[in-house]
């Protein structure tokens, strides 16, 4: 491996191995990202009425691939990037990262086969019992492939999260890794925020994966047991959303950990752990376990006290995010000698996207509002906001920070402006069409809009222009980052 700088502060051979596996993850993400984004473009094109040759079954198959792919992609990208940043303080095992990579690739191949060949169309959270009621659209092997993919990736990701936690545990005992001694007034040992946020996130990953295992076991008992056992649809729904909500939120938290770690490199103001940071992230760990309940507001059979808990916890979890992380980012940057480069701008805008998407999410987590927004396009509007304009910017900003410093390829200011301009205009324009359609009550996940919600077609058409602009920015970024990665490999 070529000139390694202090960006990845780990010793010799280990550092080279770590950088190599991280580059493989990054290159894979850079290939999958535009492919999955183009699937999104195709879906909006179909909804805009321009792709009538595409059958609804193909639309729903690529919708499933787009959703599962994007959620999985940004989770593994977040894990890979956080691994390399953690190596400044602890020593994750590169072998486990490779195992996770192999498991992820196997899962991707199975999902590609299930959706593109088998036409599996179940949505990214494959709500039970839909995978077993294809209505003749997809064969049984496609459903089997989906669950095999989930099981294989689940094992790989569990090992990966466990390895990162174990690496942290070798240096910090759990109470220190969660910063509890700060709450008791002690600042020794000093624990950087990235350790605390990563520990919270990794515990969250494992808690989410436990739910996934329970789902798989329950489904297997029903499908393979032959005992007449029937699953409780509400229980499976709770487990499914607990798992899905956890994976998505953990990805977000990994991105935020990158902000804490990387922004100081651009303005020289250290971001240290304090009581407030510790309290807020431990609170997040508790609240994220119950905030998923807002996904089930329209399941009226769910006990009322759980519905109220969902709204309370969703409101509460916004407080540490806003008052501690977002506010602290602004304080950290305010009046500092900030070097505005592509990574710092992307991280800054990522925090802004997180804030905007967070507001939309809190609004939708109000039961009385959810009645009007549940499963309308408001839902993809808000999660695309804190993904595309939030965590994705944080992860890609950090990736660019790493590969630019490692490769010593200077940044082009003109290309930086191009990327930021196109991503900003394209991203928020594309999102605005989702929001407006959501306000109009246009359902999400419709291949074709019936007359009652035909206004969705207009918003889909307009969004195509913005998606094209966004894609241009993404491709310029991929070019700039990809060539740095390839230079690192070739030297």
């Amino acid at each position: 491996m070529a000139s390694l700088t202090t960006t990845v502060a780990a010793p010799g051979v280990y550092r080279a191995r770590l950088v190599r596996v991280t580059l493989i993850w990054v290159l894979t993400a850079l290939v999958l990202f535009p492919v999955l984004a183009i699937l999104g473009l195709l879906m909006r094109t179909e909804q805009g009425g321009y792709l009538q040759a595409m059958s609804p079954e193909f639309f729903y198959a690529i919708m499933t691939l787009h959703g599962l792919g994007m959620v999985g992609l940004w989770f593994v990208a977040g894990m890979a990037v956080i691994s390399v940043l953690l190596a400044t303080y602890v020593k994750p095992t590169t072998t486990v990262s490779w195992i996770a990579y192999g498991a992820t690739l196997t899962g991707v191949v199975l999902l590609l086969a299930a959706t593109l060949v088998g036409r599996l169309g179940v949505g990214w959270y494959f709500l039970y019992p839909l995978p077993f009621h294809s209505g003749g659209t997809w064969p049984g092997w496609a459903t089997a492939s989906l669950f095999a993919a989930l099981a294989i990736m689940g094992v790989g990701w569990t090992l990966w999260a466990g390895d990162l936690l174990f690496a942290i545990a070798r240096r910090y005992r759990l109470s220190h890794a969660l910063g509890w001694h700060y709450l008791g007034g002690s600042t020794t040992p000093e624990v950087p925020p990235i350790i605390i946020i990563s520990t919270v996130s990794l515990i969250g990953v494992l808690a989410g994966l436990v739910a996934a295992v329970v789902i798989l076991v329950l489904v297997a008992l029903e499908q393979l047991g032959g005992s007449g056992f029937t699953n409780d649809a509400l229980l499976i729904k709770n487990l499914t959303f607990y798992f899905g909500h956890m994976v998505v939120n953990v990805t977000m938290y990994l991105g935020v950990a990158m902000v804490y770690e990387v922004i100081p490199a651009y303005n020289g103001r250290p971001w240290k752990t304090n009581t407030l940071v510790v309290f807020s992230w431990n609170l997040v760990l508790l609240l994220v376990m119950v905030a998923y309940l807002h996904h089930l507001y329209m399941d009226f059979a769910q006990p009322r006290w759980l519905q109220v808990t969902g709204q309370l916890s969703s409101y509460l979890i916004s407080v540490p995010a806003a008052v501690v992380t977002i506010f602290s980012t602004l304080v950290l940057i305010y009046g500092s000698t900030m070097r505005w480069r592509l990574p710092s701008v992307m991280l800054f805008l990522g925090v802004m996207g997180w804030a905007i998407g967070g507001v939309a999410a809190v609004i939708d987590s109000t039961v009385a509002v959810n009645t009007h927004f549940h499963n309308t396009l408001w839902v993809p509007a808000h999660f695309h906001t804190y993904f595309v304009m939030g965590v994705v910017l944080m992860i890609l900003g950090t990736v660019f920070h790493l590969v630019t410093e490692l490769s010593n390829v200077p940044e082009s200011l003109a290309l930086t402006k191009t990327i930021i301009g196109t991503v900003g205009v394209g991203g928020y324009g594309f999102l605005l069409m989702f929001y407006l359609a959501g306000v109009a009550g246009v359902p999400r996940r419709y291949a074709v809009y019936p007359a009652e919600v035909a206004v969705g077609t207009i918003y889909a058409k307009i969004s195509l222009i913005f998606i094209a602009v966004l894609l241009i920015g993404a491709l310029v970024y991929i070019w700039e980052t990809g060539r740095r990665c390839l230079k690192l490999f070739s030297s």
């Binding site: 659209t137 009226f300 309308t376 929001y435």
Partner: protein, 183 residues
């Protein structure tokens, strides 16, 4: 409600954009920051956010869409989902065995009546949603295997209210519909 929610969202987004712009511009003229002052501002922000969230809780929690046991609806309609149609019946709901005979896509109710839809499904999860004659989403609940969700709606205006599916249920999800005629 949707327009109010969007208004709150737009106002919040505008504030966020302004604050981020101010912070970004502040780096043009580097200066030391008073952390004591920042913490006072943080406290103010915390208190403001707390008050705003509390106000929203107080205003919205009484408006839960779940039916109250004590009240009695004027009409009961059994809404049964099955890939890819809604059957709206009174008296007896269709089963998988008699679906073709018992299926009923349309129901009539009186203007001003409080109707309770008892929503369930014979196969996968569906989303029972009512759209007003001018295409606005007025109410919804999920249809889950093994459960009956009760949705109370008062139809103030006459017209044709469309039932669409709001939980993805398969290939013809977008074509799954029913009709409530309010006369």
């Amino acid at each position: 409600m949707p327009l109010t929610a969007f208004g709150v969202f737009l106002a919040s987004t505008t504030i966020i954009l302004i604050v981020f712009a101010i912070v970004a511009r502040s780096t043009n003229v580097p200066r030391d920051i008073s952390y004591a002052g920042a913490n006072r501002l943080r406290l103010l922000f915390f208190a403001s956010l707390g008050v705003i969230l509390l106000i929203f809780l107080v205003l919205t929690l009484p408006d839960l869409p779940y039916p109250v046991e004590a009240s009695t609806p004027e009409r009961v309609v059994l809404a049964t989902g099955k890939q890819y149609a809604w059957s709206l019946n009174e008296g007896t709901a269709p089963t998988v065995a008699n679906w073709d005979d018992a299926f009923n896509q349309k129901v009539q109710v009186s203007t001003g009546a409080v109707v309770e839809f008892r929503v369930t499904t014979l196969d996968v999860n569906h989303g029972f949603s009512l759209y007003t004659p001018d295409g606005h989403l007025m109410a919804q609940t999920q249809a889950m295997p093994g459960y009956v969700n009760r949705l109370r709606v008062k139809f103030d205006k006459p017209g044709n209210y469309t039932v669409l599916c709001l939980e993805f249920c398969g290939m013809a999800h977008h074509g799954m519909r029913g009709l409530v005629e309010v006369r």
